[in-house]
C-alpha cells in the first residue's frame, strides 16, 4: 500500500474513532444536501414541494439504512461499540456512587496488595540481574562430603582454578564485607554516624564477567589489582553519599585510615551479584588488608566467591565436570599447606556444582521464600474475595435490571451485546480498581521495603534484613494489568452468564415480589465462598499472631531488663594480640565507670545474634581423659568471655562459679560450659564442676571446669537451645587460637544498668568513641529491641496477615450487607403481605437473619475445612502452635460470624420496619 494512501486511511479511521459525532454530522449534511438538491430539481420539473421531497427521499431508498451502510465502511464499529459500552458502564457507575465505591475498593485493595507483594517476590525471587546478559552466569558451589556445601574458597585456590579452567568465558572472585567507618570526603573519626556500607572486594574480571560498564568514569580492570587504593561506587551510593556529583576526582572515600580514589560509578540499578544485600562500592581484591585489617590469614588465604560466565554452548554440568579434576587438585594443595594430606576417598567426595546466577545470589532468598509465598497466597485469596464482592454486587444490580434486560432482549438486542455490556461494567470497575490499586501499591511497596530492611544487630558478617529496590516497573505494571483482566473476567462473568438466562416473556410478566428468581443461586454461593476465604485468612492471621506471641514470650535464658548490648567490631581497627586484649580490658574498665552502670562483661559470641549456631558438622567437642572420644553434631564452638560477662548479661551460673580476674594468668587453664553439655557428658551440672578435660587440637593442655551456665538463646528464639558450647577467659583467646585470625575481633558488651538502660546509651557511645574514635560500633540496643529485630520477619507476616484478614472480613461483611439489603428491598412486597397477615416484626427480623446465618454457617464450615487442609503450608512458619489449633479456628469463626451478623442486622431491621400499606401499594 502506498504511503500516502495508508496515511489517508489511518487519518480517516482515527477521525471516525476520535470524533465520531462530527463525522456522523457530516454524513447527515452530505445526504441532506443531496435530498435538497434533488427536491429542487423535482420542483423545477413541475412537482409540488411535497411531491418533490417525497420523490427525492424515495429515490434514496431508506436514508437511515444508507447512513448505516456508510458508517460500516469505516470499519471501526467494534471499537466504537466498546467505547460506547465503556461510557454506558461509567454512567451506570456514576448513577450509584456507593455501589461504585464499594466495588472499586473491593478490587483496588485486592489488586494493590497483590501488586505490592508481587513487586517483592519479583525483586527477590524472579527478576534477573540488571546486567546486559544475565544468562550464562554461574557461581561455584563446592560440596565436600555431601551435604556440606560452601561457596567460598581461598583466593589462592581461585587463582589456581582460573588458570586451569577452560570451560568459562571469564571468571572472577568477589567477597562482600560490611564495614562501619566508611565515610566520604572526611575520615571516620569526624563522622560518628556513618551508615554501614557493603564493600565488594573484587578480583580482575569481575565487571567483565558480569558485563557491566561504568555509567561515569570506568570500572575496575586487571590494571587496578595493585596497591593503589581505587574504588568504583554504585549509583545509589553516588546519589546518596556523593550528592550525585559528576566530578569524581573531587571525592575520596575513607575507610580504616586509607583514602580511596573514586574512579567510576556503575549504571543505575546495578548493585552487584547479590540480591537483597546490595554492594555500595567495589575495590580491587589486592586491597584486602586495607578493607579488612583484622585478617591474619594473608591475602591468599582470604576467601572469595567464584562467579563465572560459561563459554558459549558449554552447559553448566559439562563445565562443572571439566573443572572438577582441577578443583580436587587445588583442594589437595590447599590442605597440604596446613600439613594435611587429603586421601583419595576424601578427594573423591568433593563435587562441584555451578548453580545458575542469572537471578543473582541471595542468602536470604531461602529464608524469606516461605514467608513471601505465604503472604502472596494471602493477597491472592483477598483478591478472590474482592472479585466475589463485585460479582455479587453486579448480580444484585443486574437482577434489579432484569426487566430492563428483558425489554431490551424483547426489542431485539443480541444476547452477546448484553453480555458484553455486563463485562464492560466489570472491566470498568477493574480498571478503576487497578488504578486505585496501583496508588495503594506505591504506598505499600515503600512500607514493605522499610519493613524488610529491618534487621537485628549481629556480629556475623551477613545481616538478615533485605534491601530491595522496589519500584513499579514495566514487569509489575504487566502483572497489574493481567490481574485487572482476570478480576474483570472473574467478577463480570457470572453476572454476564446470568443475564443470558433472562427469559424475556417470563421476566416481563413476573411481578417484583418474585424476588431473586434465578439470581439467588450464584450470589449465595459467592457469599459462602467469601466467608470461607475470609475465615481462612483470619485463621492464618490468628496463627501468626499466636506464634509471634509465643516467640516473644520464649524464655531466652538471659535477663532482658536493665541491660544494654553494645555491638562492636574492634578488629576493623587492625588491632591484634596484646593490643586487642588491652582494648577489651580498657573497655571493661572505662564502661564500668559510667554512672548508672552496675556491671559490664563482654564476649566474642553474641547473645541473640541471629542467623545459625553453625552446628551440624560432626566433631569432637571435648576429650575426657580416660574415656572414649564422642562425635557430636551439637558443638557450637568456643566462646571467649570477660570475667563477669554472665552476671552482666543475666545468664545464670547453675553450678560452680564464673571466671574472675584471677583466672587470667598464663598458667591457669579454666573452662566453663553450658548446662546441656554438662548434662550430656557428666550426667548433671554439678558433676561437671571440678572435672579436668582436654580439647581437640595441637595443644592437649588440661582444663578444669569451674562452672556451668544455663542454656540461653544464642541465635534466635526459633532455634533450639540444645547445643554444646564452651567458654574461656578472653585473655586466653590468642593462646588457644594461635595462628588464626584474632578471636577477639568482634565483641558484644553486655552492660547491666541500675537506671533505665536507654538513658545511658549515649554515655556508652561517647565513652567508646573516647577510647578510639575509629572503633566501629554497629549498634547499641536493649535485648528487647534486639529480640524485636530478630522477630522482624514474624512480625511482618503477623501484621500483614492480620491486615489482610481484617480487610477480607470487612469485604465479606460488605458483601453480606449488600446482598441482604438488596434482597430485603426486593421482598418489601412479600414482607408487607406477611405483616398484613399478622406476622410480627420479630418474626420478620428472624426471617432475614435466618437466611444470613445459613450462609455464614455454610461459609464458616467450608472455610474451616479449607484452613485445616491448607495448614501444612504455613506449618513451617509457626512456632509453638499447631496449624490446626482448634481455639484459633473457633475464635476466628466466632469473630467472623459476629461481624457478619452485625452486617446482617441492619437490613434485617429495615425489613422489620416495613409499613405493610406502603409495601403493598408499591407494585
Amino acid at each position: 500500500m502506498a504511503i500516502d494512501r495508508m496515511w489517508q486511511v489511518i487519518r480517516l479511521r482515527l477521525r471516525s474513532l476520535l470524533s465520531g459525532e462530527s463525522v456522523d454530522r457530516e454524513l447527515d449534511e452530505e445526504l441532506q444536501f443531496h435530498i435538497d438538491r434533488q427536491t429542487e430539481l423535482n420542483i423545477g420539473n413541475g412537482m409540488t414541494r411535497d411531491e418533490a421531497r417525497l420523490a427525492a427521499l424515495r429515490s434514496f431508498g431508506g436514508a437511515e439504512q444508507r447512513k448505516e451502510e456508510c458508517r460500516d465502511t469505516r470499519r471501526v464499529s467494534w471499537l466504537l461499540d466498546a467505547v460506547r459500552d465503556g461510557r454506558h458502564a461509567l454512567r451506570l457507575l456514576a448513577r450509584s456512587p456507593v455501589f461504585a465505591i464499594a466495588a472499586v475498593l473491593s478490587l483496588g485493595i485486592g489488586i494493590g496488595s497483590n501488586v505490592a507483594m508481587f513487586s517483592v517476590v519479583d525483586a527477590l525471587l524472579l527478576k534477573k540481574l540488571p546486567v546486559p546478559q544475565p544468562d550464562g552466569l554461574v557461581y561455584f558451589q563446592i560440596m565436600t562430603e555431601p551435604p556440606y556445601r560452601r561457596d567460598d574458597v581461598p583466593y589462592r585456590m581461585y587463582e589456581r582454578l582460573r588458570e586451569s579452567s577452560t570451560s568459562f568465558a571469564s571468571m572472577a572472585g568477589v567477597w562482600p564485607m560490611e564495614r562501619a567507618n566508611l565515610t566520604v570526603d572526611a575520615p571516620a573519626g569526624d563522622n560518628p554516624t556513618a551508615p554501614m556500607t557493603r564493600v565488594g572486594l573484587v578480583t580482575s574480571g569481575y565487571f567483565e564477567t558480569l558485563g557491566v560498564n561504568a555509567a561515569i568514569g570506568r570500572v575496575l580492570g586487571a590494571s587496578d589489582q595493585t596497591e593503589r587504593p581505587v574504588a568504583v561506587v554504585s549509583d545509589a551510593f553516588w546519589r546518596s553519599r556523593m550528592n550525585a556529583d559528576r566530578d569524581l576526582r573531587a571525592h575520596t572515600v575513607h575507610l580504616n585510615g586509607s583514602a580511596f580514589d573514586v574512579v567510576g560509578v556503575t549504571p543505575p540499578g546495578f548493585s552487584g551479584e547479590l540480591v537483597g544485600t546490595p554492594a555500595d562500592l567495589w575495590v580491587p581484591f589486592t586491597l584486602v588488608k586495607q578493607v579488612v585489617p583484622e585478617i591474619t590469614s594473608g591475602t591468599g588465604g582470604f576467601v572469595v566467591r567464584i562467579i563465572a560466565r560459561l563459554a558459549s554452548d558449554v552447559p553448566a554440568t559439562q563445565a562443572a565436570a571439566a573443572t572438577l579434576p582441577v578443583l580436587r587438585q587445588a583442594e589437595f594443595e590447599e590442605a597440604a599447606k596446613f600439613n594435611v594430606k587429603l586421601s583419595e576417598s576424601v578427594l573423591g567426595k568433593i563435587e562441584l556444582d555451578l548453580p545458575d546466577m542469572s537471578r543473582g545470589i541471595s542468602p536470604q532468598r531461602r529464608s524469606f521464600r516461605a514467608s513471601l509465598l505465604t503472604l502472596m497466597a494471602f493477597v491472592g485469596l483477598l483478591v478472590v474475595v474482592g472479585c466475589a464482592n463485585v460479582a455479587n454486587l453486579l448480580l444484585a444490580r443486574s437482577s434489579v435490571r432484569q426487566r430492563e434486560l428483558a425489554v431490551r432482549l424483547a426489542v431485539g438486542a443480541g444476547r452477546g451485546r448484553i453480555a458484553r455490556q455486563m463485562l464492560a461494567e466489570s472491566a470498568m470497575i477493574a480498571a478503576l480498581g487497578g488504578l486505585s490499586g496501583l496508588a495503594l501499591a506505591m504506598w505499600a511497596t515503600s512500607l514493605l521495603s522499610s519493613l524488610l530492611a529491618v534487621a537485628p544487630a549481629t556480629l556475623n558478617t551477613q545481616t538478615t534484613g533485605i534491601v530491595l529496590d522496589l519500584r513499579i516497573d514495566p514487569r509489575v505494571l504487566l502483572f497489574a494489568t493481567t490481574l485487572c483482566g482476570i478480576t474483570a473476567a472473574l467478577s463480570g462473568l457470572v453476572p454476564a452468564i446470568a443475564a443470558q438466562r433472562v427469559a424475556p416473556a417470563s421476566a416481563l410478566r413476573a411481578a417484583r415480589t418474585l424476588g431473586l428468581g434465578r439470581f439467588a443461586g450464584p450470589s449465595s454461593a459467592l457469599l459462602i465462598a467469601q466467608v470461607a476465604v475470609s475465615l481462612v485468612l483470619l485463621i492464618g492471621a490468628g496463627l501468626f499472631i499466636r506464634s509471634l506471641h509465643n516467640l516473644r514470650a520464649q524464655d531466652l535464658g538471659l535477663a532482658r531488663d536493665n541491660q544494654l548490648l553494645a555491638w562492636i567490631v574492634p578488629g576493623q581497627t587492625g588491632r591484634k594480640d596484646d593490643a586487642m586484649v588491652d582494648l577489651w580490658h580498657t573497655m571493661m574498665e572505662r564502661l564500668s565507670a559510667i554512672p548508672g552502670v552496675a556491671a559490664v562483661g563482654a564476649s566474642n559470641q553474641a547473645v541473640l545474634n541471629g542467623g545459625d549456631v553453625g552446628m551440624g558438622v560432626p566433631s569432637v567437642a571435648i576429650i575426657i581423659p580416660g574415656e572414649p572420644r564422642q562425635l557430636t553434631t551439637k558443638s557450637a564452638g568456643r566462646s571467649f568471655v570477660t570475667p563477669g560477662f554472665f552476671a552482666a548479661s543475666g545468664i545464670r551460673v547453675v553450678a560452680g562459679r564464673e571466671f574472675t580476674g584471677r583466672d587470667a594468668g598464663e598458667q591457669s587453664s579454666v573452662v566453663m560450659m553450658n548446662a546441656s553439655m554438662a548434662r550430656f557428658y557428666f550426667g548433671s551440672e554439678t558433676a561437671a564442676v571440678g572435672r579436668i578435660v582436654q580439647f581437640p587440637g595441637p595443644s592437649k593442655q588440661p582444663h578444669e571446669i569451674v562452672g556451668v551456665i544455663n542454656d540461653y538463646v544464642r541465635t534466635t528464639p526459633r532455634h533450639t537451645l540444645d547445643y554444646f558450647s564452651t567458654y574461656y577467659p578472653y585473655r586466653h583467646a590468642d593462646a588457644i587460637n594461635r595462628g588464626q585470625s584474632s578471636r577477639l575481633r568482634v565483641m558484644l558488651v553486655a552492660i547491666r544498668t541500675s537506671v533505665p538502660p536507654l538513658t545511658i546509651a549515649d554515655d556508652v557511645r561517647r565513652e567508646i568513641r573516647a577510647i578510639d574514635p575509629l572503633l566501629p560500633v554497629l549498634s547499641i540496643n536493649t535485648p528487647d529491641q534486639q529480640l524485636e529485630g530478630l522477630l522482624a520477619q514474624d512480625r511482618i507476616v503477623a501484621s500483614l496477615s492480620t491486615a489482610l484478614g481484617a480487610t477480607a472480613m470487612v469485604l465479606a461483611s460488605l458483601g453480606m450487607f449488600g446482598l441482604l439489603s438488596y434482597r430485603v428491598a426486593r421482598r418489601t412486597n412479600e414482607i408487607g403481605v406477611r405483616l398484613a397477615f399478622g406476622a410480627t416484626r420479630a418474626s420478620v427480623l428472624a426471617l432475614v437473619l435466618r437466611e444470613s446465618s445459613r450462609l455464614v454457617i455454610a461459609g464458616v464450615i467450608a472455610g474451616a475445612i479449607a484452613a485445616v487442609s491448607l495448614s501444612r503450608l504455613v506449618a513451617s512458619r509457626l512456632y509453638g502452635v499447631s496449624a490446626s489449633d482448634p481455639w484459633i479456628i473457633a475464635g476466628a469463626a466466632a469473630l467472623l460470624t459476629l461481624v457478619a451478623c452485625i452486617a446482617a442486622v441492619i437490613p434485617a431491621r429495615q425489613a422489620s420496619v416495613v409499613d405493610p400499606a406502603t409495601a403493598l401499594r408499591c407494585d
Binding site: R5, Q8, E30, S59, F60, Q65, R74
Partner: protein
Amino acid sequence: MSKPPDLVQGTLDLLILKMLALEPLHGWAISQRLKTISNDILQVSDGSLYPALHKLEQQGWIEAEWKPSENNRRAKFYSLTRSGKRQLAKETESWSRLAGAISMVVTLPEV
C-alpha cells in the same frame, strides 16, 4: 433491505473513479452525471451511491473536501487521489479486457 442489483459488481466504483478523474464532484452531481452519461440505461439508485463513495474514500482512492457548491451551499466534493488514479488505470484495463471478452463471445456469429 438489500441493494438493488443495478450494476455489475465493481462497475459503479469504476464509473465514479472515471467521473472524478475528469473533475471533482459532490455526490448529487455524480448521481446526475451517472444518469445523463449513461443515458438512463444504468439504473443507479441515489442511495447506493453514498456507501460506494464512502467505501472508496475509506480505501484511499478518493478524498473529500467541503467546498461551496454551485448554489453556494456547502457540499462535500470528492476528487481522485494519486493512488486512485493508479487504481482507475488498473480497473479500466481489466474492464476493457472483460468487456472485450464478453463482446467477443456475444457477437460470435451463430451458425
